[in-house]
Symmetry: C2
Subunit: 585 residues, 2 copies
């Protein structure tokens, strides 16, 4: 059979799942494979047994007979209950007459969070009992028949309290956590945002959605990649950190305008965030060049040394000494970095442990350089350039948090501020050996067109065509124009980076075969959606996140595998000495 030419390692399936009782909807799907692109409103009640969702009924529905399915949110003394589904809550009135005693018993006995189906009539709530804070608060449903579809055991907590429970418990019972309003909202928002992106790219701009393999060859320097043993002894696949090489190969293959919502696998935490606000820190090294403070002198006399400061306007009105101590303590414990604070008093004098070391002239120079005004606070750090920037960027965020705790509104949570970061260096000096260069991002980034001539003479000075996109201070994506010339790519790999170009021979070969100039961008969806949803953590926009240590607390993955089960992959566990010893005894 032609479609089974060989071993299938990786394939895609469209997986569709629903709460469902009957089978007719399957026929519906097959008859709809000739898909209509006609624009209609979303119908949440197609294919299923309910007539309406629990968030849908309004005064206009009064008098209609409806069937609802959902979870029992709570039930009061056999009089009424509140039914919940993904769309909202509806109040259900339990009949009290003898003829409906069976219905009353069924609903009275059903534990909270049981799944029930009820049929009844939509009625107006009596005057004074309408709930304007509830979208369905004008109506209630008088039940005629009810069925418990699945009973729920006593839960270790109530769903509505769940948000207060420990992270570990939430992860272990993730399926209960998913029932919360917030998780339902976030996951649906994510689905809709990604759909809008697809419509924009695919329908409006003719991009092609191409799936690239996730079982690939190890990339040079890919120390953080997961390895996957194959059935050939000693041979391994890798889970790629990104579709890096494939997207270049697609461009070379003429698949103009590619996009993909891709999984990326990295066996590590992500890099610390670059804080683009650093550009707003003002450098005051010159003021301090002749100041007689030991650590300041140490700093400004080193090649990468600097003294920098940030200003918190009107900080003295809202922050107290204990706040400054807390900030300094945080800088010390997180970064092992001293931070000093200065306050400009209304009489224009500087209040600071530092002021006695500064001449009056230096003080006024500092005030001018930082444009300090009365009641402003200055936080100052001296040391190695990058570290000082990192610490002060952090101090800036922590100060903002403190001020917002005092009731100030500094950051509008509903505003979205985008920022492009450009002109990154193409290469960096290696930390362990500054005489050698490494790629600032990856070896495929093209040099800045104005700097290309420097590639062969002073590669350390060259800017790259890399760009980062920042939203409200967080990096949400990055990309680059790539090298499309095989000789230039070989030069970067071999001569600048001293890497073995043979490891990338397939890419070098491809670049020789008519590779068009190309580039792109990748957005980190988790973080972007986290920012848009206003969620505190990316775990709140991922259905099944891993824990801090990469564990799945629900199923307890990763887990042990027997030596017999490892045999087909030709690997065995190399136990660390201590554990091997323990196993022996």
């Amino acid at each position: 059979m032609s479609f089974r030419h060989g071993l299938r390692l990786l394939y895609s399936q469209l997986s569709v799942f629903s709460r469902e009782l009957n089978r007719p909807w399957c026929r519906y799907i097959s008859s709809s494979l000739a898909l209509s692109s006609e624009k209609r409103a979303t119908d949440f009640n197609s294919l299923v047994a309910r007539t309406n969702t629990c968030g849908e009924l309004r005064s206009a529905h009064v008098g209609q007979e409806v069937t609802l399915c959902g979870w029992i949110q709570y039930q009061r003394q056999g009089l009424f209950l509140v039914l919940r589904d993904f769309q909202g809550l509806t109040q259900i009135i339990i009949p009290q007459d003898e003829a409906h005693s069976h219905v009353k018993k069924v609903l009275y006995d059903a534990p909270v969070e049981s799944v029930v189906r009820v049929t009844g009539t939509v009625t107006s709530r009596p005057p004074g009992q309408k709930n304007p804070r509830m979208p369905t608060g004008d109506i209630e449903v008088k039940v005629k028949t009810a069925e418990v579809l699945n009973s729920c055991k006593k839960l270790p907590f109530e769903i509505k309290d769940f948000i207060k429970k420990s992270e570990a418990l939430r992860m272990q019972y993730r399926y209960l956590d998913l029932r919360s309003f917030q998780m339902q909202h976030n996951l649906r928002l994510r689905s809709q945002m990604v759909m809008k992106m697809r419509e924009y790219l695919c329908n409006l701009h003719g991009f092609v959605d191409v799936e690239t393999p996730t079982l690939f060859k190890r990339t040079p320097g890919g120390a953080k990649e997961f390895v996957v043993p194959s059935r050939e002894p000693g041979k391994f696949y890798c889970l790629p950190q990104s579709p890096q090489q494939f997207k270049q190969l697609l461009m070379i293959g003429g698949l103009d305008r590619y996009f993909q919502v891709a999984r990326c696998y990295r066996d590590e935490g992500s890099k610390p965030d670059r804080q683009p606000e650093f550009t707003q820190i003002i450098d005051v090294s010159d003021v301090f060049r002749s100041v007689e403070i030991g650590f300041v002198q140490n700093a400004v006399n080193k090649p990468q040394g600097t003294v920098k400061a940030i200003c918190i306007p009107q900080g003295a009105r809202h922050l107290q000494n204990k706040d400054f101590e807390a900030l300094k303590e945080s800088a010390k414990s997180q970064f092992n970095q001293e931070v000093l604070h200065l306050i400009l008093k209304p009489d224009e004098s500087l209040k600071s442990p530092l002021s006695k070391f500064l001449s009056e002239e230096q003080q006024s120079e500092l005030i001018q350089a930082l444009k300090v005004q009365a009641d402003d606070v200055v936080l100052l750090a001296a040391g190695e350039h990058e570290k000082v920037c990192l610490v002060l960027g952090n101090m800036r965020l922590e100060s903002a948090n403190l001020l917002e705790l005092r009731g100030l509104v500094l950051r509008d949570p509903t505003a979205f501020h985008f920022l492009w970061v450009v002109d990154f260096p193409l290469f960096l000096h290696k930390e362990e050996n500054p005489a050698e260069l490494e790629s600032a991002h990856h070896p495929f980034t093209a040099p800045h067109p104005s700097d290309t001539s420097l590639l062969y003479s002073e590669p350390a000075k060259i800017r790259s065509q890399h760009y980062d996109l920042v939203l409200n201070g967080s990096e949400i994506g990055g990309g680059s124009i790539r090298i499309h010339n095989a000789e230039q790519q070989r030069f970067v790999l071999e001569t600048v980076l001293k890497e073995d170009p043979e490891l990338l021979s397939h890419l070098l070969e491809a670049l020789k075969c008519g590779a068009p100039p190309h580039g792109g961008i990748a957005l980190g969806l988790d973080r972007l959606i986290c920012l848009v949803a206003g969620a505190p953590s990316i775990r709140d926009v991922i259905a099944f996140p891993k824990s801090f240590k990469g564990r799945d607390l629900m199923s307890n993955a990763p887990d042990y595998i027997t030596p017999e089960e490892l045999e087909p992959y030709h690997i065995q566990v190399a136990w660390p000495a201590a554990e091997a010893e323990a196993n022996k005894n």
Copy 2:
């Protein structure tokens, strides 16, 4: 920073890539993140340097100045060339006057498959030179300026000949193969089909696109799963064969109406296809119960024994003796199964090596049972029920192939016939130990509602709520209503299947927590799109397929990894004895 709570193992990114020269399009993307859902026509020329694609220009464009980018398909004596991109071909006229000698030289020297950018004026082709078979055949572009963006080395073959080259060569140079019209068409069709499915599910029916993890726990009996060593000694993740458990957990989590285009990882070939046409084979065991032929007698006297036949209407008019011999030989070599043929002659007598063993009464009984008419051919097989069905299903397809080679049209390649296969058994007798039962599909499938009572008494007789969807004879998907009752699930695992329910304790626990009745379907996208595209192999609808042995012939994955590189994963290669010996010497 709140969004970096922990180790990130798996995350999604939206990856966008394009042939591109300038950077302004990046700004375009960020300014468009507030996405408009306004319906517009697809614009293939946004964000890039070209004004038109190579498939776009018509008589209406005559007189316009245009910029095109593409690959040189061929070039003739410095007079004209044909430029190709993903949308088509455009003829480019090279200027012959002295003032444009530079342009002429640039284009004359550029090898085939080089990437060029040309700017010029659209003109009508001279009378008699229009090409009606080419969508852009009415026009040509008179070039004013030209630039080679990337030169191409001499290729080992021409792109247009490529389809004839060996599979291995096509895989090694996959990026060249992708430039073919057929691959461009197939991958774009795939993208559009998946987009339509998404619009249908997401926009019209309110389904939620949820990404589930691909690093998970090993499932019981998951012998064909890939394992991924973690950094905890002895602990492994698995790449799941499907999002099986996660979609159930999503239903329990209230994520009503889930869908996902999911990657599935199986370390094996797929199961042989069930041939749903088997239902059309007619059983003739009764006719042969008293027939004195050894292998027929053997067959009908066994518990699973049967005699079955298929009829090829008018077969005798188109098929000859050597065809019947070929069919029989195929059944013998592929399945070790005897097949006999009978022909009903116009005089109503049966022509067959078999006819001497059949009484006149038996002959007419057979003719009646099979509704055989003059010139029809009957193929008959006796043996074990399942094997006979498999062989005759195969004979049916092979006969159809033979008849179509003779010019008959039996299967309309443009027609799509869908078929549901239902009422599968829930359990099968294990081949190696028929006293024990195994799941026909997987242990989560619910029993047929009419058969549920048999679960506790005669589980082998129970039908399942599994269903398969078949398109033009190929299985393209399957699904089931799942068990939502924890006690029923435990009974199936523990009592019927004799498996350790503790391995699935997280699922059993979840079923107790208010699991709604639920079910779904998964479509195999590769095969479905293969059928719709009319492609001979699923490799023609996958950008980067693996070879027969699971190899990536372009990058040579999987590949060896040094023992040092394996150290962080606490594994070492267990070399088979022979290779370990060879390595030693």
